[in-house]
Symmetry: C2
């Protein structure tokens, strides 16, 4: 562990004064209201071009920056879109989606901030009142909650605190919130159908034991079951921790399980299981067909190359447009959209 020592250097310089709009007004020789009109870009009052330039120059010279929250207090709402930390361990697909969303919202004049941490120590369940309260205190104009566990009273609290739109990105519909539904049952269904189509009849489905994954794992398992319902194929739940020892134990007990295929939850669990099965002398795909999900680069690099379910979150542009529409019309009824694309990419492991 790297330690940060506790003894600072001596000789403190004086703290800098914080310039206010009054300072800018004084330096520019105009009223505070004029400063506010110029710097907050209000279009309702005409300011002459020389005055505008004088104010901007004074602000620059003083290092004055308008206060977003003060502006929000005056105008009644902010331009801040709050994205809460997802209730599940986020991977590269989510981070790419978030980058694109932030970029697209930025182009529409919103400032996106993320708040919150991945829960620690396995704590799960619905978001606490405290969480929703902290979000509300920031007075965002819109809140996007990825995952699950948002309660209707939290939506209420956010709406009452001035949020014009609350959106969820997950498997549930929460009353009062726009729902971007990610249908992971469909992901499991595609996976189950693919393995069944490849002639497999005893299908295992990995369910991670780490907390937070159940929001995806449970519907994926259900989807595999639906895919083979009415056939002779069986579906076996395989609880698995993301650790080599656990995967080795599972692979060592493979004989009695007698499975000829596994939908391994995602590419990382698939990689873990592939190594363990091969170490036990089992051939992939000869003895066991293996299918991941996410379509990460690492799957393509495995031997055999990993088959996977390619997932696609909504485009940041489309979602930004929905946020903007919802903010402009806060009284509009919540929209519901199914947004997750899922397609099997067949490579060598299945």
């Amino acid at each position: 562990m790297v330690q940060i020592p506790r003894t600072p250097d001596p000789a403190p310089p004086a703290p800098l004064p914080v310039p206010t709009s009054t300072d800018v007004a004084r330096r520019a020789g105009v009223s505070r209201a004029t400063v506010s009109y110029v710097l907050n870009g209000s279009g309702t009052v005409r300011i002459s071009e020389p005055t505008r330039r004088r104010v901007q120059q004074a602000a620059r010279e003083l290092g004055y920056v308008p206060h977003a929250a003060a502006r929000a207090l005056r105008s009644g709402h902010s331009r801040m879109v709050l994205v809460t930390a997802p209730s599940y361990p986020a991977g590269p697909i989510y981070h790419r989606f978030l980058d694109e969303l932030q970029w697209a919202l930025g182009r529409l004049g919103y400032t996106v901030v993320q708040h919150g941490t991945a829960p620690r120590h396995g704590a799960r369940g619905p978001y606490s009142d405290d969480a929703a309260r902290t979000w509300a205190e920031l007075r965002p104009v819109a809140v996007l909650v990825p995952g699950s566990g948002l309660r209707p009273d939290a939506v209420d609290l956010l709406r009452r605190s001035g949020a014009r739109a609350v959106l969820t990105l997950g498997p549930e519909t929460v009353p009062g919130a726009h729902a971007l539904l990610t249908d992971h049952e469909a992901v499991g269904h595609r996976a189950g159908r693919h393995l069944h189509d490849r002639g497999r009849r005893r299908i295992g489905v990995v369910v991670p034991t780490e907390p937070g994954h159940e929001v995806f794992a449970t519907p994926r398992l259900a989807g595999v079951r639906r895919a083979v319902a009415g056939t002779t194929a069986t579906v076996t739940e395989l609880p698995l921790a993301y650790a080599e020892g656990d995967a080795a134990r599972l692979a060592a007990d493979w004989g009695p399980l007698g499975l000829d295929a596994v939908f391994a939850y995602n590419d990382e669990y698939a990689m873990l299981l592939m190594r363990a099965l091969q170490d036990e002398g089992l051939g992939v795909p000869e003895d066991v067909a293996l299918l991941g999900a996410d379509d990460l680069m690492l799957g393509r690099l495995l031997r055999p190359r990993l088959s996977t379910v390619h997932l696609e979150l909504p485009s940041g542009r489309d979602l930004a447009a929905l946020v903007d529409r919802a903010v402009r019309d806060p009284a509009a009824p919540p929209e519901r959209h199914t947004v997750l694309g899922a397609q099997v990419v067949h490579r060598e492991s299945s």
Copy 2:
């Protein structure tokens, strides 16, 4: 691409009214000042327990939440710590560090928000004035900037806008900011020494061609060079994109390069290169020793298991304590700490 359709449902319900502290005061039968004392937890004024309870109940019933920014305007500073998006593509080690930091700052009463996106379209270089201005508009009490490219005038702007502390987490010291120095030259030095100790004399160093990595790649390359300076060993820079075709081309031209070892920048590039080298019939480590960095799980699962440089960012607790100390004493001179731990984990590939 999943499309979000543009036609919302009909029948809009009325928007909810936003309750104010005046509403709470009226309902509880007390003054607005009393509401503020109770809900903002100011300790300087004594409020009787029954009054306190009446205010809290009224706030609960109305769904009133204090406005963090309004409170900040009154008190002169916020409790918001702004963490800007790193200037480099962040991996799991960074995300873990950030989770821990947020948790630790939360325990000290700060609200952490993240702002910004990974730059798109390869745009790099120092942060723009606009970026620093957007951060300043949020009026954070402290700003942590991971990566590089923060300019001294941006630090000035943030300090003048009320930020009591600006901290960088990266390779540079920026005047006016606390510096948490991540010494990637030392990472390269460890890597170079390990490969030299293993008897390798023609060492390649992968330098990703994707933008953003240079902040790590350049000092790591320099560290490898220093490790073998004065010996007969040579160091060859290997530009490489994170794409199979590029890795295959590099491996196909291996003969003329005549390298017997590669420090592959990180575990993911190492995995990419391992597959390409093996596809060309080259043995790892017999013909080419391969060393990654980051100590990701995927490296342990490769065949052969990947040797790597295990990296450790500072503990979130220590860093949170430093932020808190800096906020309490904004006039204290900037601190400098070297915070990156680096240790070679020798497995099978080197």
